[in-house]
Subunit: 332 residues, 4 copies
């Protein structure tokens, strides 16, 4: 395989980016009519970190949370999930933690209202980035949302520099969310600048379209996307196709198809994070890409059957039981 | 009494300011541990408008809401409560409606996390203010939160000008919320500029302290507060003392004490809005100040026994039943 | 006369507002072709302060300048002109002093390019306002440009409050400059809020139109302007008509016409400031309004015959010599 | 030599970045005391473009100027200098062109006050970048000042992408100016992101220190600087040492020393721009690096003997005459 991890490093993956609050409607239907809600920790890199920790990886976090009840809740939750929170800073400027209000109109039509104005996670700055900490991990996972504003944007590029010169693999997930960017041009430019420094890029087709909106406008062509990224030294490109599964392309020219497991869907949120985290687990623990994809698909299927993103992420045991059960049924 | 309303005007009170979303924890205790929440319409002027409409006044609203599920919910709710929503504009800039997360640590210790960055209600501008509409009301109720940012701030001063030249009485409630102002100096300056244009000011002692922080720093003296405001042509000053009741001072030198009714407290939020709205009902419907205070105290007592601000506001029938029941018990 | 000054106060007028840099083309013609320039101190309140000091008044200044060569030059120049600069603060944020590039296309067609983004003078804040200092002056002159941004805007309203409670007369000059305001609505609202706190308002017809753009849109009617301001307790209203002279309206219903002296015009900039400063000198030194207008017109005529605003302002001796000379010629 | 240009391309160099106004004191001494000034076109990439055009290269410009007299003057001046101005956009937002006030305290102590708040040149955006135009040039010269703010920053990265995929060489000059950046971290991050996409980097030691402030803090070591940049695929690194000359390092490990010519110094501004432009002329017209350095040093020496940056840049004829004259004297 094209992507190698330095197994001498004591820790597995450090995630960087927003760790925020999900407030999801309990009632299925239009948000206008929803009456009660449940609160979870959310944000793509946080969900992915939980997924990786659930699978048994040694996970750390680089982030910044609000100096209030929500910020404390986020740290406590991640800690409870076994994630090292020593590098989650506390914002003293009065900024709040971001909120995502989740509307579950139907199991397949989920929307969210995102509150991301002046949020604590975007206030992380270069002076808070610790090279020694990063150097202990086999890989760093970067969420592209942190690229949307200064000073978080610069902190991301600094993390990438520190990772590169310490032999830490870089995984980049654009994590695009409507309404978080000043302009499409900014998203396209900073996505590409970050992607070309990554060893692995994980994104949906829509996210690649955002990334290519200035350089390959309107192409939306998987082959071009892969060719462009591999030519910039990315080693592994993952294109997620939602319920159609995903495809992996590697620098040695191989292609791997990940097929989804059938699932009882409660909401579609969080499937991609469970997928990415579990796939990372596979790669780092030495499984083949095909095996890793199988694990990732199973974790996805389990997650969308629960109400939350972070809390519905399965453990390794649950994932393996799911695969066993499903394969038995299929083979009968 | 010093404050007269033009009874020839067809409508009663038009409220101006934030109409936002309250998301209150269902569990009593620290917010970190709260799991489920309930959604309501909130925001001081919205709550007060609902209180007035519940009491039977003809109420209108000047405001701006987000172009999303929350904005639509706010308009629908106010409409359902009998409030004229024809002058609630819809923000097309992508701004969200403000959110207030309510923590009910104990019945007497309630806190909130306020999300008010780039919110739709502060985007209302002078060009959206309709003099003819305002001229139809006996009074306009101004929430001081709208003074915290442009263009809403200028819209408030324009509403006041239109009110004055059309014989519409002005009621000003500073509605101070931590974290909504750039600086204490801004709060002090714009509160005073607005208060001196009002016929009636309703505020807590803490809010008067904010208003006086530049001109009477550290005094916190009710007599000075009243003297200052009456000298600037305010006709009626109400100082709210929380569970200790409130005191009314009028331009003719009279003082009226409003005593609270005993209440089973669920949360303290919203008591002041129910009080202000019901007191307005009393004044406008020709009751004496003492009677109006009695109604206001009863409405307060009922509201703090419910979970929300807007939804727990009583009807005229409930208020009168409460007073009758309480007075009977007391006289027994 | 309707406007009285407390002659017991030891100082005459304290001006508040921008003291900036004028860089005027030496060559008459389009600015594109201008090669050399001359530097002066400028800004309406600075020019007016110089005019008043030249006439012999005891003048002070409330302002803020950049911590650079231009800021130091401004303080040195005002000091040299006999103005007390003890209350000119120095901005430590890195902001620059504003610049006005002057184009003298022809003696009667003068334009300027204004650099007023993040300028030091708008950074003056309430904490820098000294009530005791203000209380020593008979009058304070407020430039409306300081109302265009926070924190200067709030500082202006605080100065007005301090002036009122210490018996200091307030003179308000809107000092409108294209490109300094976020919106016409802001200019209209804050101009009116400031004007109604003033004892005297001095402005051009165009500036009154800006002030009235929300409340008397498109009227442009001197009588309405005067009626509106006098009804808000302004005691003296001056409407400047450029080379047509000016008219003064007082609270006791009197009207005074100021006729311009014929002048050899080099540039039209600064005429209004010389006029306002010299008129103030007249009022404070006990001259009649008619006499004061005569002095003001003479100072105007002299100023527009020079290249700069501040530096071309005449002394009392020059003004009186001009009047004597002119009257002799006329009477011959 | 390591750096090759595609000689089939019809045009030589397109410069991108600020084209602004220099207003330089005519009197030598402290700026406070300067009375008269002369106006020029300035801004590092504009000066460099003029230097290249003067030497006979076919030069274009990508930029944005104000919609006022200064903006028109800039375009007219560049056009007059033979530069293609078809891709200089006109800002319609009301932004001004930047101004640099030059203080010539003594021939060797020159300072400037920079006005760069909301300037037109930083408003250039991705939608104004024309790939076909760029593709016609052998090289593009990027000024790092454009990296200081959006949307110009993104436009720079887009220009670099377009250059790379069209075989256009990229020359990067950080062009650091005090007070133009939000933070040192931003300067460091975007300088490095741009430098590593360049074929050639031209900067002073101080500018490399800014670039390395996060990754090689406090090192200030030429060898490390060169090693770092060459490892990122830069082909030619130039380190300017002011009056000590400059050193060139190429990817093939060679080092070239450029020695300064003795000069009668009027002001030090602009020496670097003349140097860079003339050096580019040398490389593109096929001269050796040593010859190119000789030309560059001569152009520098001539420029600092004049009052302006742009206007004092010599023609090819003047440069060659200077070299001939100097070499004859030396050899006598």
């Amino acid at each position: 395989m094209s992507l190698q991890f330095d197994q001498a490093k004591p820790m597995d993956v450090v995630a960087m980016g927003r760790a925020t609050i999900d407030i999801y409607a309990n009632e299925t239907g239009p948000l206008e009519e929803a009456v009660t809600f449940t609160k979870y920790v959310g944000g793509s890199p946080a969900n992915t970190a939980v997924a990786m920790s659930n699978m048994g990886l040694k996970v750390g976090y680089i982030g910044k949370v609000s100096d209030d009840q929500f910020g404390r809740y986020i740290r406590q939750y991640l800690e409870k999930k076994g994630i090292d929170t020593s590098h989650i800073a506390i914002d003293k400027s009065g900024a709040r933690s971001g909120i995502t209000i989740g509307e579950i109109k139907s199991p397949t039509e989920c929307n969210c209202l995102v509150y991301r104005q002046n949020v604590a996670d975007l206030n992380i700055s270069c002076s808070e980035i610790d090279e020694e900490y990063i150097s202990k991990f086999k890989a760093v996972l970067i969420s592209g949302t942190s690229l949307s504003y200064s000073p978080a944007r610069e902190a991301v590029f600094l993390v990438m520099e520190f990772a590169r010169r310490n032999g830490v693999r870089i995984v980049f997930d654009p994590d695009y969310r409507e309404g978080t960017w000043n302009s499409d041009a900014e998203a396209a430019i900073y996505y590409m600048l970050a992607a070309e420094k990554a060893d692995m890029v994980v994104a949906t087709r829509d996210e690649y379209d955002k990334m290519e909106s200035l350089l390959m406008q309107g192409k939306s062509d998987d082959k071009l996307t892969v060719k462009n990224l591999l030519s910039r030294n990315v080693k592994l490109v993952s294109i997620k196709h939602g319920k159609m599964g995903s495809t992996i392309y590697t620098a040695d020219g191989k292609v791997y198809a990940g097929k989804p497991y059938p699932a009882k869907v409660v909401k579609t949120f969080g499937a991609g994070d469970a997928y990415a985290g579990t796939f990372m687990f596979g790669l780092i623990s030495g499984k083949t890409i095909d095996e890793s994809l199988k694990y990732a698909s199973a974790a996805s299927a389990i997650t969308i059957g629960g109400h939350s993103c972070s809390d519905s992420t399965p453990t390794k045991c649950e994932v393996e039981a799911f695969i066993t059960a499903y394969d038995r049924v299929k083979n009968d």
